[in-house]
């Protein structure tokens, strides 16, 4: 049962807002509701961790644990009498002051043991002439060049040499904007559509039928059908003519990020049926999430889920371009799991990303606009501009997107994906150099 308690005045609680209310109340009661002594104690306690030390010290001073467990303010009077016999308040405050002295000593020791910065005379490596550092930096990839630059001031000066800095940015720009040759061993994501095209040619639009007879490359037929011939796809050699230096290209040109995922939250409204003796029908708002990862090949994977994915799940699903196989699930769940994935191709056209994906008998195409939002990370927002859908047997394309709602993807960077950029199987070496 709670007793009437002398509550701690609000001024004290506001001053020491870091501390737990119950702990302060406990101290206030143990110290016979003396505000002066409370202030003396609390000024010596600078962090809430020390209150726990205080309580542990009281434990070690031969006290019964049963009394300390009765922290519900039921048996406070007995506690106070018990403590008065054993502990004097001055000793408490002295012990607290000793704790703070030890901490200050450790801080002073940490300040003395600072590392001396590297001076040029210490290492003969830094005394070498700059054209040798040029040779060394020629051999390095852009990521290790960046870490090399941060070592000391002299390396930063060597890096700012226009010969090296231009090559550094040139390597990055080539890795980002240059086209990579796709290996023939990789299975294109349009093989399923290829089967349906060849089996049901009579249902397709007449244009596709003709084009498919000429060239049996399904990706090219689909791009020719869905895209414009006048669009300028990003090419490194064309960009080189637009910008004066590679550094301008690296800073100003909008680009996609490959070392993470883009995530979006969407909703749609679902109408239910009215129950008996109800005049109105219910409507529900259903939220779902989309996750995209773009690959350097020109392909992408999208995952649609009703729940928000954790970090480990994202790493499992988006580690490789192929759809992940999770052996814990059974066969039926694996089939349902694969239906949530979309595999397709994308192309970058100046500001926008054109995306096409095919699943069974439908093809989806979206157009996203790249934006640098709040200067946090270049290309961290993708705005949804338009989207269309086409099913087998139809002569029209259906618009999916309402322009009234502004939907956007937000980028999340994951460091675990960086090692795959150096992997041999997926041909990511071109990204490094």
């Amino acid at each position: 049962m709670l007793q009437t308690i002398n509550q701690v005045p609000k001024q004290v609680l506001l001053e020491f807002y870091n501390l737990n209310k119950l702990q302060v109340q406990y101290l206030y009661d143990v110290l016979d509701s003396d505000i002066d002594i409370l202030y003396r104690v609390l000024y010596n306690i600078k962090r809430p961790e020390l209150i726990d030390k205080l309580i542990d010290e009281l434990k070690y001073q031969n006290q019964q644990q049963g009394l300390l467990k009765s922290m519900t303010y039921g048996n406070l009077k007995e506690l106070k009498n018990f403590l008065k016999q054993r502990v004097s308040y001055e000793k408490l405050i002295n012990s607290l002051e000793k704790l703070n002295i030890e901490e200050e000593k450790q801080k002073l020791q940490a300040l003395e043991v600072q590392e001396r910065p590297i001076v040029q005379q210490d290492s003969k490596f830094l005394e070498l002439p700059p054209y040798i550092h040029l040779l060394i930096m020629d051999f390095l990839d852009p990521y290790s060049l960046h870490t090399n630059r941060l070592v000391c001031l002299k390396m930063n000066e060597i890096f700012n040499n226009p010969q090296i800095s231009d090559k550094f940015y040139q390597k990055f720009c080539k890795a980002l904007f240059d086209q990579i040759e796709i290996k023939p061993t990789i299975i294109s994501p349009f093989e399923k559509t290829r089967k349906y095209i060849n089996e049901n040619l009579h249902l397709y639009e007449q244009q596709l039928q003709l084009i498919n007879e000429i060239n049996q490359n399904p990706s090219q037929t689909i791009w020719n059908n869905w895209g414009n011939a006048q669009e300028q796809i990003i090419n490194y050699q064309e960009l080189r003519l637009q910008y004066q230096s590679h550094k301008d290209m690296y800073d100003q040109q909008l680009r996609l990020n490959y070392c993470g995922i883009y995530a979006m939250k969407e909703y749609y409204i679902k109408y239910g049926e009215a129950q008996f003796q109800q005049s109105s029908a219910p409507c529900y708002r259903v939220d779902f999430f989309r996750y995209i990862r773009f690959w350097r090949d020109g392909t992408f994977t999208m995952f649609i889920s009703s729940k928000k994915l954790t970090k480990q799940e994202i790493i499992e699903y988006f580690q490789y371009p192929e759809i992940a196989i999770i052996p814990k699930q059974g066969n039926q769940k694996q089939m349902q799991f694969e239906e949530c994935f979309l595999r397709g191709e994308y192309r970058i056209v100046i500001d926008e990303v054109h995306v096409i994906a095919a699943r069974q008998s439908t093809t989806f195409s979206y157009i996203y606009k790249i934006k640098n939002y709040k200067n946090k990370h270049p290309g961290n927002v993708l705005l949804l501009q338009s989207g269309q859908m086409h099913t087998l047997g139809d002569n029209y394309r259906q618009d999916i997107v309402d322009n009234s709602k502004k939907k956007h993807f937000v980028y999340k960077h994951l460091e675990e994906f960086r090692q795959e950029l150096h992997d041999e199987l997926h041909g990511w070496k071109n990204v490094v150099y």
Binding site: I118, Q121, D122, S123, K124, F125, L126, E127, L128, I132, L135, I136, M137, D138, F139, L140, D141, S144, T147, N148, L150, V151, C152, K429, V432, Y433
Partner: protein, 159 residues
Amino acid sequence: MQFISQDDLTFNINNKALKYCTKVSNTNLEVIKFAGINSNILRKVIQYCEIHQDDVSIPQISRPFKSNLIYDIVNFKDANFITSIDFQEISQIIQAAELLGIDTLVDLSCVYIALKIRGKSSEKIKLLFKANKPQTDEEDQRQRDIDDSAKGQRIQIFD
């Protein structure tokens, strides 16, 4: 030919090994003194020339690198040669190779340094650049005086 080092030690070289030292091979001299090179380092530079005595030509190193090991990029002999040298002495070997005009040694040592830097954080690279041997201030000053006096006269010729 004979080379004399900073510590007044003499080393003999064949004419076959001299073909890589481009700055020195065309002259008809017999004895040359290098006041800026230590004896340990001269010995190793001459060892490199004698390894490639019988080779017609040394192939150039291709970029990008295939892997992080030197044995995949360079010949087996070169890789053994460089891994036997301390990391702190490589900067002195580069200076010696410049004086003599051996371009392939310079490329080799730069590749070795680049492979050590590659893939590491900036704090670990700082530990690489620091001198590990505890030298007293007097020894540092002595070495610096010798190097400063030798900058004016790097090569002395005795006929």
